[in-house]
Symmetry: C2
C-alpha cells in the first residue's frame, strides 16, 4: 500500500508516472494505470462535445466491451483537432503500451489533456511509454501528479469499505479555469461488480457531481471519467452500497476541483427549487450559473438580485414569473419577484456565496449547480496567448 | 423639421424631453413621443424574458389593438420587479399622460430603462409628465438623449423616401454593457401602412438585426422596439419597400449600439455557414459568441481556433465534427477540424475580428452574430456595486 491511499490502494492495481518531456516545465506528464484483474470491468463517461479528441474517440471504441486492462494518461497536449494523425498517434501509443504489457490494444484506453491542435511529441512519448511499462508499482500519487495541468494540487480519493475499497484520482479545475479545462478522473475498485453495475453507478454519480460543476457551459474535447474494477476482493456489494461509494468519490473529487479553481475569488452554489421537475431546475440553475452579469456581481460581492431574475427568466422552463423568491446566503432578497427592504445590504463579502431560487410552480423539482465568479484573474488566465 | 432629422421628422410626430430628476446626474431622463395621426398604427417587439418589467406588461396590453397615440419614456429606473406597485405606478403615469393629451390611457405605451428593483420616484415623475405634455415639439433629438443610460452618444436614424419617410431613435449598448442592457427603440413613419404591414416589417427586421447583437445571451426585462405610423404622408409603400427601410433603420441603430459598447476592445462578427438551415447556423453562431473562452481569446488577440471548435461542438445542431473549417479575418486557421500550419500567426490585433465557421453539413444554412470580447473593462463595469 502506498503512503497516499488512492488508485493503487484497491487490490489489483498498479500505476507509474514519468516526466517524459511533453511539458516545457519538466514536470511529470505521463502516467499509466494497470488493472491486473482477475476481472477487467470498465465503465466510462465522456465529453458531450461533438468535437472530441482522438483519445476520447479510441477509448470510447475500446470500452464498448466494458473491458479495459490499462489506461495511458498524458498532460501537456490534448491531442484534439489533429485529424487522422491524431488518431494514428494515439493508437500507436496504445499499441506500444499493449505490447509492453502483453495485452491487446483493444483493452487499453488513453486520456490526454493540454493545448488543442498540436501534434503529440511522439519522439519523447515513445520512450515514455516504455519507461512507464517497466516502472509499474504501488504509488498512485505519482500518477495523480502527472495528469495535472493548471491544477495546483493533486486530487485523490480513497474509501475502505471493509471487504472492498475504492480509490480515485482526478485532474481539472472543472470548467473553472477553462483554458485547460479538461476533466480527467480515474476510479479504481477491487469490488467484484458487473459492467452493468459499474456503468449504472458511474453515470448516476457523474450527473449530480461533475455534471453540476459548471462555470461557463464549456465542456472540453477530452473530458473522460473512467471506473475500473478488478474484482480482486472477491466481494460484491449491493448496487446501493456501490452507488453510494462511487458517488462519494465523484463528489469529493468535484469539490477538490472547485476548491482548486484558478482565477476564482468566490465559490457559488446555486440551488433552484419549486421547478416542475429536476431537469427543469437544473436548466434554470445553469442559466444563472452561466450568466456573466450574475458572475460579475458575485465578484463584486454585490447582492444584485435583479440580475438573478433576468438570468432565470431566460430559462426555457416553467416558472411563475411574478412569484419568484431569491435568497442570498439564506437571506430573502426577493419575494414574489419583488425586492425585500434590506436586499441591497446582504453581506456577500465572504468566499462562499449561496443562491437559492424558488420558481414557485408548486412542483418538486430541485437541483444545485456549482459555479464561480467572473474575476479579473479569469480574464487574465484566459486571454493569455494560446494558453 | 428639426436640425437633427429623427423621430419627429416624419409628418405627424411630436416629442419632448426633460430632466425630471430620476437620474442623480441631473441629465435628461424622461421623454414623450406623440403620434398626431391621422392614423395611429403601432407594432411592437418585446423582450423574450419571462421576467419582464411593468411598462412591458402594460404596453403589450395596450398595443394589442395595434393602436398607440403616445409613448412615455424614462431612463434611470427600469420599474422591473416592483410587483403590483410597479404596475400601478406605470399605469398611473400613463393615465396622467393620456389625460393631459386628451386621449385614452389604452392608447399610451411606456418604456423604462435603468436599475431593476427600485420603485419609480413618482414625486418627480408626475411633474415630469406634465412638463412633457406641455412642451411637445419638433426636436426629437432631445428625446433620443433622454433615454440614454450608459450610452455615450444618442442614436438616431432618418431616411427620406420621397413620398414618405422613417425616423428612429434607440438606446442601449445591446447586450454589450449589460449592467443596464435594456434596448429601447422607437421608429416613426408617416407612411400609410396597415398594422399587419408594420408588424411584419418590424418582426422581420428585428430578427436579423437587434436579435443578432448578442454578447452574453442576456435579454433585459425591459427590451422594447416600437414602430409608430401616422399615415400623414398619405402614401402607401409596397411591403418590400417598407420592409427595406425598416430593416435599414434597425440595422443602422444596431450598428450604432455595437459601436457604442462600453467595456469592449474588439468588435467581433461570427458567421456560421454550411449548417442544415439558418436557425441551426444562428444557434451555432450564438454558442461561439457567448463562449467566455473565445471572448477572452479575442480580448488577447489570440487566434486560438481550438476554442472555437470546442464552443461550436457544444451547439445542439448537426455538423460534421471532423470536417469543420474556421477562418479568422479571412485566413484559414482550421481545415477539416485540424489546424493549418500558420494558424497561430494570424494577426487579430485590430479592433475588428471576423470569425467564419463552416459546419460542413452541405446544407445552405447561414447566420451572423455580432459580439464583443470579454475584457477587464467588462468585469469592472459589471462588478461595480449595483450598477
Amino acid at each position: 500500500m502506498s503512503t497516499h491511499p488512492g488508485i493503487t490502494t484497491p487490490a489489483g492495481f498498479r500505476a507509474a508516472a514519468i516526466a517524459a518531456g511533453i511539458k516545457p516545465s519538466g514536470k511529470s506528464d505521463m502516467a499509466l494505470v494497470v488493472n491486473d484483474g482477475p476481472k477487467f470491468i470498465a465503465a466510462g463517461v465522456f465529453t458531450q462535445n461533438q468535437v472530441f479528441a482522438s483519445p476520447v474517440k479510441i477509448t470510447r471504441q475500446h470500452i464498448q466491451d466494458h473491458c479495459l486492462k490499462a489506461v495511458l494518461y498524458n498532460s501537456g497536449n490534448a491531442n484534439a483537432c489533429n485529424g487522422k494523425q491524431g488518431d494514428d498517434d494515439a493508437l500507436s501509443l496504445i499499441t506500444q503500451t499493449a505490447n509492453n504489457l502483453g495485452i491487446e490494444p483493444a483493452d487499453v484506453g488513453a486520456c490526454s489533456t493540454g493545448l488543442i491542435g498540436d501534434l503529440l511529441p511522439m519522439n519523447v512519448m515513445r520512450p515514455g511509454v516504455d519507461a512507464l511499462s517497466s516502472n509499474l508499482g504501488g504509488n498512485g500519487h505519482l500518477a495523480a501528479e502527472a495528469i495535472m495541468t493548471t491544477d495546483t494540487v493533486a486530487k485523490e480519493f480513497f474509501s475502505a469499505q471493509g471487504e472492498w475499497s475504492l480509490g480515485g484520482m482526478g485532474k481539472g479545475v472543472g470548467m473553472m479555469a477553462p483554458s485547460l479545462a479538461t476533466m480527467l478522473v480515474c476510479l479504481t475498485t477491487d469490488a467484484d461488480v458487473t459492467a452493468e453495475m459499474a456503468q449504472k453507478a458511474l453515470g448516476k454519480a457523474c450527473s449530480t457531481t461533475f455534471n453540476t460543476l459548471d462555470v461557463d457551459g464549456s465542456t472540453s474535447t477530452n473530458d473522460t471519467v473512467l471506473l475500473l474494477a478488478s474484482g480482486a476482493s472477491g466481494y460484491t456489494p449491493s448496487q446501493e452500497e456501490f452507488d453510494a461509494v462511487v458517488y462519494e468519490a465523484c463528489w469529493d473529487l468535484m469539490k477538490q476541483m472547485q476548491a482548486d479553481a484558478e482565477g476564482v475569488s468566490k465559490r457559488v452554489s446555486i440551488t433552484v427549487r419549486g421547478a416542475e421537475d429536476n431537469d427543469s431546475a437544473l436548466t434554470a440553475a445553469r442559466c444563472i450559473g452561466r450568466d456573466n452579469l450574475c458572475k460579475c456581481a458575485f465578484f463584486g460581492s454585490d447582492p444584485n438580485w435583479g440580475r438573478v431574475l433576468v438570468a432565470v427568466g431566460m430559462a426555457p422552463v416553467v416558472m411563475d414569473p411574478e412569484h419568484i423568491n431569491v435568497y442570498f446566503n439564506g437571506e430573502p432578497v426577493c419575494l414574489d419577484s419583488t425586492g425585500t427592504p434590506h436586499a441591497r445590504e446582504v453581506d456577500l463579502s465572504g468566499p462562499d456565496i449561496s443562491v437559492e431560487v424558488d420558481l414557485a410552480t408548486g412542483g418538486p423539482g430541485t437541483a444545485t449547480v456549482y459555479t464561480t465568479d467572473l474575476s479579473h484573474a479569469y480574464v487574465d488566465i484566459n486571454s493569455a496567448y494560446s494558453s
